[in-house]
Symmetry: D2
Subunit: 336 residues, 4 copies
């Protein structure tokens, strides 16, 4: 059985997922596309050499009988309506982050999905599909380091453009740590604080960079994440889990070790797209396989919702300088 996929949004990431589902993954084919720019959608179909119908409306695509599942890769603010529409149609939907641009919007999706009675939504958080994070979680779950007490993490980019704002450090950058660290710890957040170190001279005037975000979880684990988006030297993701009896650290990406010019060195990636490139394949394959197996297991709309609430608290903490509470209900059994 080949899963017939409809894709809403044919920008950069949409095109990349169309390529994956058409040429790289097993068991899927793209049969329908839609974009706010219909010509662009048609062009993508042609460029990728696929046989897919171009729909003028995302909702029509969702409801088309030949479409088994939907990928939402459109403009962020449109995610909520398309995901809700897919749930109405009772079709599985993979939605790139954010699930919705407000926590309230995410909550609506959670409620609609629960009412439907079965998971339909997978959110495009790819880090839980990264081999490194999976190996790290395996070490934690094996009890080799005992109960986790702290996480020291960093999310660093070489540079960002002028349009990148202080708030985006949370909603675009930290959002991945918000997702992956709660998954890693199997825990949720209860408070957030943001600290502004001395500002780098390499950032635009309007941007506070770097920032340190302090998160506390329900079990009391403390997390510090350095977000530094003009660090110059590389795209570098660090994660160190301090447990009661030992410390486990996310692997550095494998790299040739060089002895050259008085240095013993390995490479650090400069391009974020390379860092989790394999994880994108794995997450979408999991979505496809999950649908076929009748059980979607990846990041859920609940995860999307709690990430949104947590991000809101972090943004509040950016503004207040205070420790902001994160008020989340218990994870419903539906999402366990």
């Amino acid at each position: 059985m080949t899963l017939r996929i409809g894709v809403i949004g044919t920008g950069a990431i949409g095109q990349d997922h169309i390529r994956r589902c058409s040429h790289a993954l097993v068991g899927s084919t793209v049969v329908a596309v839609n974009d706010i720019n219909q010509e662009q959608a048609a062009k993508v179909v042609q460029q990728q050499g696929i046989e897919a119908e171009v729909y003028a409306s995302g909702h029509d695509l969702i409801n088309a009988p030949e479409v088994d599942a939907i990928l939402v890769t459109s403009w962020g603010p449109s995610h909520e309506e398309f995901v809700l529409s897919a749930i109405s149609a009772g079709k599985p939907v993979f939605c790139e982050k954010p699930l919705a641009v407000t926590a309230e919007g995410c909550k609506k999706i959670v409620e609609a999905e629960m009412e439907h009675g079965k998971r339909l939504v997978q959110v495009g958080f790819m880090r839980p599909y990264d081999q490194g994070y999976r190996a790290l979680k395996a070490v934690i779950d094996s009890d080799k380091i005992g109960e986790p007490l702290m996480i020291h993490a960093a999310h660093r980019n070489p540079t960002v453009g002028e349009s990148y704002t202080t708030e985006m450090a949370i909603v675009d950058t930290l959002i991945h740590e918000i997702n992956v660290l709660s998954w890693l710890l199997d825990d949720q957040y209860v408070s957030a604080q943001v600290i502004y170190p001395r500002k780098t001279s390499q950032a635009f005037a309007h941007l506070k960079d770097p920032q340190i975000v302090l998160l506390e979880t329900a079990k009391g684990t403390r997390i510090d994440v350095e977000v530094f988006v003009n660090c110059q030297y590389g795209y570098d993701i660090q994660c160190e889990v301090v447990g009661e009896r030992g410390i486990a650290k996310l692997p550095e990406p494998a790299s040739v070790q060089l002895r050259s010019g008085a240095k013993l060195s390995t490479e650090i990636l400069m391009d974020w797209k390379q860092r989790f490139i394999d994880a994108y394949d794995v997450e979408l394959q999991a979505f496809i396989d999950g649908i076929k197996a009748g059980k979607i297991t990846g990041p859920s709309s609940w995860d999307g919702y709690t990430a949104a609430v947590t991000a809101d608290a972090c943004v509040a903490a950016q503004r207040s300088g205070a420790i902001e509470p994160i008020r989340l209900p218990q994870r419903p059994a539906f999402y366990e």
Copy 2:
């Protein structure tokens, strides 16, 4: 277009490739299988849940009209005849190592293929498809370390069974280095010498272990490979290329770094099957994609032939203790 594959030999590696071509790779399906034990072949078809015809004869399978390409994963001594049969049929064939059990047999295949006029054969050397070796080759080709002058390599297994003989250190173990190092250097071998260090007490009495094999290439590059198949501590593949201006080293497999029990450690694999597991997928995908693109690019029957000649010289060197010449013709333009 889905490539319809016939598989000859349904033992462990055959089953693994059937699984790949049916469930893990893109663009192929297994439509026919054969095994010397026909019941076993039928059982595999059933277990893997595929729709494939069981052929009583490998040659019939090769000539079946619904079979586009052949995988030879049968008993080593049978490889030669099946590959020759596939060439006669003008069908692409992927043959697990060895291509043939004698250099002479390999040569016959080379001649048959050249007479056919187009490459049909890919030999199952998977290391050139490993990400680490590819990264290493990219560094060499980028001239970051200058011209390669030496390679220090090691091939270590935790233990081997009693049936493993001194000669197998060459034909089963070193054979992978013979292949991958000549690919890495784009060079071929001209002499071999074997040195026997003090024998480990962990090996069976009949086995000389470890061994050091010294190879010389046409360009004068010198290679030392430690083959140590009872090293106890892990399955460990090392490769360090010393160039005129620097040294490049094969990456260690990525692993969580642990601080625990007075040690800062990463894991070393114990199971060889894990080490190049991704490379098997890549090599077979390349075979499938190559056929579709009309151009097979992987390890060729020429590579299989030269590996056989080199292995023969190494075995001679094991016995003589002397430096044995390796006499190889120039690589024909056909195989460049």
Copy 3:
């Protein structure tokens, strides 16, 4: 010229320094000792095979004409009076930490020394004499990483005894980071906050362990120090300086790399005494050489004073949970 040293306090560290000044360092000899337990002092003289007079009074030792310089290694609460006495006598004095048990006491020493008109006091902070920290400072000062913006540090012990209190995490443990990080950054602290992560089950009931201390400097650099004194796995000192263009990390102590039992590992020390053992020699040699050169350059009474004020603020932050200001005057020119 051999510097004639008098030692007040012949406990463990006093004995160690007597050994150093008698047998390991160049240009010094121990001629006088004092201890609250006079018998113990006499025994140490005998055991170490030195010719030194045993004084009943520390003050008499200080004023003895044959004593050129004093080491104060007695009980902490007695440091202040002996250091002041040495300043009165116009003699150089090396005082183990703490310089005094209160910030006020340290301030009196600073004032006495400034009144004397020349530096006489070196405080026993040894980390600035550690090769690793010196190499780290050299990298920072070379501008290889640009201006420092953040420091991530950790101070971990395998275990502590029942007498170790929550406050000692600051005054006994963090005190070394307080000293060395301000030296590293050439900066002083302006605020402190303490965070309590989930408590380890490996600590005594009365002890909050681990703790995270957040420090802010005058230039805006932000420091987080994990203090974890029951981490089980080793005595581990980490320090990573994040600059505008790169990151520099304190070297791990050199260790044989082992491939063994499916692990690639180096050793982590378990015993804190081994970690900075060379630095003790270097700091005392610097004291001796400084006196001979007429210029004491090591950690000053000003450094002792500011460390005390900073530690007080950290202890206040432990209790309040709030961000506590650290109010320090400008470093006087006298101490630059």
Copy 4:
């Protein structure tokens, strides 16, 4: 008791040792110096600010009653006569390598010393005093890796001058491995072979560089040493001991780890003088302490002799291309 030392030869290394024995080590003073250039000797005395008599004759210096021990740091060909003279005088003598320029010369020294009846000679091989090699030996001796079966080693310099000859790769460079590896293994050599890889374009025309030296020990352990003196990238000493159950590797010198410019790097030394700088202090302190304790324990004239015989065989192997036997008598009990 202060050991009164006479130094023969006031060139670069002589000056360095004079500085050590006068200012850096404990328990020694330089009271006499001699050089073939008497003015130079006088100048050194003045520059170093020491009170030492300048002798016109090395032999007179040796026999001077105020001289307790001798350092021979003169021109290599003069070592033999001065060491023999010191033995005649019954005085301890530290001789820089080579002990004598011929194996025969070394043997004469061995015989003279044995006739004297007590060890007087320490040869200036400093690597056994290096912390890294000592840690490596401790691991071997602890049986953590089982019996050593192989050593893979490398001795690399960034560049050498035009005067450096192919033979010097043995007698000046490999000589350190010859010494330290037999000490490490507690074993002696029985054969040598030299292999010439493709020559680097960075070496002078007359020099064969790199070279690989293969040594075999009495216990059957096999050693390969890459000698590469124009490797460009650094002064790099590698040593990996492969045992029956694991592998131990000489520590890299501790270095700040840097994340900068898309690289994760540590420094490799360029200047050989920095690599073993601490070991020079330790070896001379051991000589001084050994004399005082009545027992010289460092590298002996026997070690100097066997190194010379081994080096001779390696040079023969350079010329013959064959495996050359190394014929050494059993180590006399006198030297155990």
